[in-house]
Symmetry: none
Subunit: 297 residues, 2 copies
Amino acid sequence: MVQIASIQRAPEMGSETPHAGSNEPQSSIQLGSQGLKTPLYHQIYLILKEQIKDGVYGADGRLPSEQDLTERFGVSRITAKRAMDELASEGLVVRERARGTRVIYQPPSAPIASSIEGMLENLIAMGLETTAKLLDFVYLPASDTVAEALEIESGAEVQRAVRVRYLDGVPFSHLTTYVPSALGRQFTAEELSSFPLLSLLERCGVDVGSASQTITATLADHVVAQCLDADAGSALMKISRVVRDQTGTPVEFITALYRPDRYQYRMSLSRVQGETAKRWSADDNAARTDTLKAAQT
Amino acid sequence: MVQIASIQRAPEMGSETPHAGSNEPQSSIQLGSQGLKTPLYHQIYLILKEQIKDGVYGADGRLPSEQDLTERFGVSRITAKRAMDELASEGLVVRERARGTRVIYQPPSAPIASSIEGMLENLIAMGLETTAKLLDFVYLPASDTVAEALEIESGAEVQRAVRVRYLDGVPFSHLTTYVPSALGRQFTAEELSSFPLLSLLERCGVDVGSASQTITATLADHVVAQCLDADAGSALMKISRVVRDQTGTPVEFITALYRPDRYQYRMSLSRVQGETAKRWSADDNAARTDTLKAAQT
DNA sequence: CACTATTTGTCCGTATGTATG
DNA sequence: TCATACATACGGACAAATAGT
């Protein structure tokens, strides 16, 4: 039959098999061995915080006890307690002796998504409505990764710029761009902090034709975290994109990092009949980017 | 020329004016105080590591001296030394007395991406080439979030299934699906662990028409981490999708979690002329999902 | 009213790691 | 190298509030 490994389950009535035999001797949930030296209690705090925001404890808002966390994360009770105390100090939960820890946090009903209409990563529109701060601007030899993306020789000179983009004064994205040196020399650092890179390239005569991008996730290191006003060790959305001109020559390689609570990638799909079977097709006018109003913090 | 400052001060007000051309290293990190949890030496280590990877010291591979770092980051020499020792212990640099610290690092060959050709989130193809394990299968009242996604009344009965999908025996994705009860009753838990949910729905007569999905990032809690053989607190890519039939009625709400080192979302874009300005357009046949062979870790 | 189990609050001591001077 | 301070993390122990039997 179906084996249910429901450890943390939202409080539900019924169908509650009391202690279904499989008392997992797991005990080896590894925390934070991924190179980040974030304190244990803070890692647990981040996980719990996200679960709260996802409404995992929405029913009666009851969080696991300190003892539960002790067993599940393999830490001492003091450490588990500190994680919950940190939640309480931010007003996300209320802790009462002998009564447990309950969520006292109301997600603004609907996480209001104010759409920036237009196409996917509408850089120009975004650029006009936002501000950017230039953190770094330097010419350096291309690393292998950058060289491969831009299809140039490794070691060839490229321009690297690191910017933070703000929306309504709130840090929004962390951008690292690489441009072949010859192109980069055609604009200045000052222009780069005022205009989107893409519009600068088009002004330089580049006829932008296509782009390919990869979306993934990564952890915030302390440098990026500071830029985005986020916690080190929190999850970020990462988009890497190579932009090419009409001849297919790469003109820009960009890596963008976003706080997931302030930016999400949304798209619509249609189910169409393919050659052999039905498949998904991306709706053209529907792929767009949305900005979520920051709930708090 | 803008100074190389990959370091940012904290939300300090004012002083928006960088000292252009000034020799003053505008870079002491605002830390050491209470706000940051990451050790100083490790923060510096991360910054240096990234600079090395970007080829900042590519010429002769010479890193700043301990004294340089001491001044630049505003820390003691011991702390600067530890950061460089950490680099050395990882084999990134070589330290020689009175000779300084040099980069001895060759980036590994690019992580090979073996594409699974086909359309965006080609569920059926994936379902046929992978295995799935059913972790949970239960009927329960819809939470507010689920009810809103499926456009049903909060508390109406829905079927929830939690599965882990494996690719070549390696845990690949963690799927939580919600289906209206009436639809869910038409197939069994056993079928769900063998066939993709979408094909089961189509077998039941559902004429799948469209879907809208949101891509974001989140942290792995201990439960998901165990399922995906990852660390709790690591970053995961998260895709939430509402699938609708031809009439626009939601038939499925799914939340999928992926390890970023095993799954990435890739798409191609074209630059087309819009009504007012040029914009990006999603290439239809190019949006696809790729699986990356684990490069390391 | 005990009695018990939970759960949180508080305290102790100890060990290790971090950072400065 | 040493001394000092502070933060982190552990284990143990006890007390206090709450709920159920």
